[in-house]
């Protein structure tokens, strides 16, 4: 029985090793296609295939042995200078590699090599160096056709001994089962908890020997924890390595020429992330070749090199990995997107009309969107970009598309380094604690007297909280966790204080009401039992510092369950109705425009209201700006639009902070400064268009005051125009 187990282990290792060897082989082969005379690559390709052939014999995989032998023979002729790499031969060698993979898969599944004998392929490979194969190869024009004994090989003589040794170099790595690693990580987590408890005990002890021993244990444990987490890290190259092959096959299929460039392949991520991005990444690459890069003729016609370029780039930034998939193809035409979206009825025409180019191209992530004029067999596989986006957001990542017509498209992914450990907030409802990933958290708001004025309000039957003029839909954790039947009951149980976590999920914001926050900490994410996975509201579980288990909330699904993240809201966010239609419910922000005038802005066009520290505002070249999130946001006064030219601007207030209406635009956020916010009101307003002028949509009468309503779209358009 033991012998059988050993055999199994050996076989599993053989399969894994052979697949890695095939990866290496294909990589070398791709290189050889470009540089047919590179002896180092040839030697490498030979070594990989030779090693598979050798072990295949040991495991009595006769077909695999025969197939790889045929491939090896071709390579050996090349090494001897009798044959030169061509596209035809490369194709056959790739086919051999595919065949070998098929056999390996069959062996893995059934312990048998499968039905196909690959005799046809073996015969083809054998023909490639038979004398009859001396016919011209389409890859090189006749004039450049290498002589039977390649002069290149003669001028760069075969190195004296390109050592093809069977003996592997001194091994510096071992193969370890991932489950074993996970167990080790769990145990180290426990060790850390025990260490913490021990430290508390030692703090009360007066025995110096005991104290110094616990100190040492403390350091060793921390060290161990740090190292063990590294064992799960893998370079992104592990996913990328398969792509050149995908690109090669696809571009051949589409009749395009594409070269792949990779930058930052050493960037490391957790194994689970590497696995999670594998499919989305492949899909994006397929898309880039199928839809992005043009045919060679079209490229030449538009003055580009015939060969398209696909660049994969990865780097670390703020504890996350940024990954770009950039092509230098035709780019995405926002107008085409607009038409498609209209045809498919994805968004109302009116909304589409208002969207700018950047907003429009993000629509490719909407379900049911495909920009290819005809659905092709390559990327039109029923898997849309919406699935890609969903899968990336699932692991706490983001994806967006950047592009310019004619100059190509870049898909930018931001993913966390690891899923195993995340920073989280531990919150409390009643006597229960839950963990919420920090990645979803925008801010924390403490509210006293939640039931009173300035607390929870009801807006179209949904509980909301007025956060700096924005109505934030609320979900009550006590209700979602079944501790209270209704949100009113949950609210009543809160007593005189509550904490709102402002969370973002799928681009929507909502507030999650909890009793309070217990802790902000790093947690080790552990999967839930299968039986509990159908409860979509939990993303997993973790063990807290006191050894108790806490569930991790899946913010997206909590929002869905609570009904605070409806599709309608998301659409409204993507395309805010900026001009205020008559007679509809709307929210207006009233501000003091100086000189006795009052202005109003529809909040529908404003993404956020911020109160920013005046000290953070800088001025450069007459332009005021402020650092906002990850961008530099230019600031503009809104008041001057209220007055005729020549009127002195409203006197600035002396407050330490300024109020800024943040509007998301294609080139980054734009900040509109208002001196003093008077109020936020809600209702249906009659707009008097008689007062219409540049930047002003009209006037509304509020109480007895005539208030100018800012035409936000026009103001922003003007600003973006004059902006350098």
């Amino acid at each position: 029985m033991n012998a059988a187990n050993d055999m199994d282990d050996a076989l599993v290792e053989f399969l894994a090793e052979s697949e890695e060897n095939l990866d290496g082989f294909e990589e070398a082969l791709l290189g050889l296609e470009r540089a047919p005379d590179d002896t180092a690559l040839l030697t490498a390709a030979f070594r990989y295939i030779h090693s598979i052939k050798g072990t295949a014999g040991f495991f009595s995989c006769g077909r695999l042995q025969a197939l790889t032998h045929a491939g090896e023979s071709v390579l050996s002729r090349m090494r001897d200078g009798e044959l030169r790499m061509s596209q035809v031969i490369a194709g056959q060698l790739f086919a051999m590699s595919d065949g070998a993979r098929q056999i390996l898969a069959a062996v893995r599944a059934t312990r048998d090599e499968g039905k196909r004998d690959f005799d046809d392929l073996i015969a083809q490979l054998a023909r490639s160096f038979a004398p009859a194969a001396a016919e011209p190869d389409p890859m090189w024009p006749a004039s450049a056709q290498p002589a039977p004994v390649a002069p290149a090989a003669a001028s760069a003589p075969v190195p004296p001994a390109p050592e093809i040794s069977d003996e592997p170099e001194e091994p510096t790595t071992v193969r370890v089962d991932v489950h074993l690693l996970d167990t080790l990580i769990s145990l180290v987590g426990e060790l850390v908890l025990t260490r913490n408890q021990l430290l508390q005990v030692s703090g009360r002890s007066s025995d110096p020997a005991f104290q110094s021993t616990t100190q040492r244990l403390n350091h060793i444990t921390s060290d161990l924890q740090e190292r063990i987490m590294k064992t799960r890290m893998q370079p992104i190259r592990n996913v990328w390595n398969r792509l050149p092959r995908v690109v090669r096959d696809l571009s051949a299929q589409c009749g395009k020429q594409v070269r792949v460039e990779m930058v930052g392949g050493d960037t490391e991520l957790d194994k689970t992330i590497v696995e999670a991005i594998r499919d989305p990444l492949t899909h994006m690459v397929r898309n880039a070749i199928d839809h992005g890069i043009e045919t060679a003729e079209a490229r030449v016609a538009s003055g580009k090199p015939a060969e398209g370029r696909l660049t994969l780039r990865a780097s670390h930034e703020n504890g996350r990995v940024i990954m770009d998939i950039a092509d230098d193809g035709a780019g995405i035409d926002p107008e085409k997107i607009r038409r498609k979206a209209l045809e498919r009825g994805l968004l109302p025409a009116e909304q589409l009309q208002r969207m700018n180019a950047h907003e429009l191209i993000q629509l490719i992530f909407l379900p049911g969107f495909s920009t290819a004029d005809k659905v092709s067999s390559i990327s039109g596989r029923g898997v849309g970009m919406d699935v890609v986006k969903h899968n990336i957001e699932r692991i706490g990542g983001q994806v967006e598309v950047l592009g310019t017509i004619g100059a190509g498209t870049t898909l930018r992914m931001k993913v966390p380094l690891t899923l195993a450990i995340v920073s989280a907030l531990v919150v409390q409802t009643g006597d229960e604690r839950y963990a919420i990933p920090q990645a979803n958290l925008l801010e924390l708001v403490g509210v006293n007297d939640p039931g009173g004025p300035g607390g929870v309000e009801v807006f179209s039957e949904v509980p909301v909280y007025r956060l700096r003029g924005t109505l934030l839909p609320l979900a009550f954790l006590a209700k979602e966790m079944g501790r209270a039947a209704t949100w009113q009951e949950a609210l009543a149980e809160l007593g005189d204080a509550m904490t709102i976590l402002v969370l973002k999920s799928d681009g929507r914001e909502f507030g999650l009401v909890v009793d309070g926050v217990c802790d902000s900490t790093e947690i080790v994410v552990k999967p839930l039992a299968k039986a509990l996975k159908s409860l979509a509201v939990f993303a997993g579980a973790t063990i807290l510092g006191d050894g108790r288990v806490a569930l991790i909330l899946d913010v997206l699904n909590i929002a869905r369950r609570a009904g605070v993240g409806s599709e309608r809201r998301m659409m409204a966010r993507v395309a805010p109705p900026v001009l205020v239609p008559d007679g509809e419910q709307q929210r207006l922000l009233l501000f003091d425009a100086g000189h006795g005038r009052q202005g109003a802005v529809s909040l529908a066009g404003v993404d956020r209201l911020e109160s920013l520290d005046r000290g953070r505002v800088h001025e450069a070249g007459g332009q005021r700006m402020v650092r906002y999130r990850d961008a530099v946001m230019p600031l503009y006064e809104l008041s001057p639009w209220m007055h005729d030219v020549g009127v002195a601007p409203a006197p600035g207030s002396d407050d330490a902070s300024i109020h800024v209406l943040v509007c998301a635009r294609a080139g980054g956020p734009v900040g509109l400064v208002v001196t003093r916010i008077v109020d936020v009101i809600e209702g249906s307003f009659k707009i008097h268009e008689g007062a219409r002028r540049r930047g002003i949509a009209g006037a509304v009468v509020l109480g007895e005051r005539v208030t100018d309503l800012v035409d936000l779209e026009q103001v922003l358009a003007h600003i973006t125009e004059v902006r350098p």
Binding site: S186, E432, L528, A531, A541, I543, V549
Partner: protein
């Protein structure tokens, strides 16, 4: 010969094959899982591993345990990793002969019958053998806890 780990629920004797029992634990702090089926008592921390705990009385449709009555965790192995079963108390390991095996008594009804493999006729007692794969499959497994 088969070895059964015996345990008691509401004075009934039950058994599971010893090789499927990982360990027996004193009650551990439970974390309730909101929205889960009623027979899921919660999650416990088993040396760093998070283990689902089933209230076996509820799972088998037996009367609820009296408040403050003793309870033990019988940790069994399942396809989905270890699962803890809350039992009144664990008993001895019984050596039973396959000749004494019988299918579930006719008197048993519905769900409980579905969750049993059968019983061993022993002098003085009749340990009922659980069908562990079915018992540990809750939610979506067709179980109506």
């Amino acid at each position: 010969m088969t070895k059964l780990c015996s345990f008691f629920l509401d004075e009934h004797c039950f058994g599971v094959p010893v090789e499927q029992v990982q360990e027996i634990l004193l009650p551990a702090p439970l974390t309730r899982v909101a929205l889960a089926p009623a027979e899921v008592a919660g999650l416990i921390n088993l040396r760093g591993q998070i283990v689902m705990t089933l209230e076996l009385r509820r799972r088998l449709g037996l009367p609820e345990r009296a408040l403050g009555a003793s309870v033990q965790n019988l940790v069994v192995t399942s396809e989905d990793g270890p699962v803890a079963l809350l039992v009144d108390r664990a008993g001895d390991v019984l050596s039973v002969s396959d000749d004494d095996f019988e299918s579930p008594p006719e008197t048993l009804r519905g769900e409980l019958r579905r969750l049993l493999r059968g019983a061993y006729k022993l002098p003085g007692r009749l340990p009922l053998v659980l069908d562990l794969p079915r018992v540990t499959q809750v939610g979506g497994g067709g179980a109506s806890g």
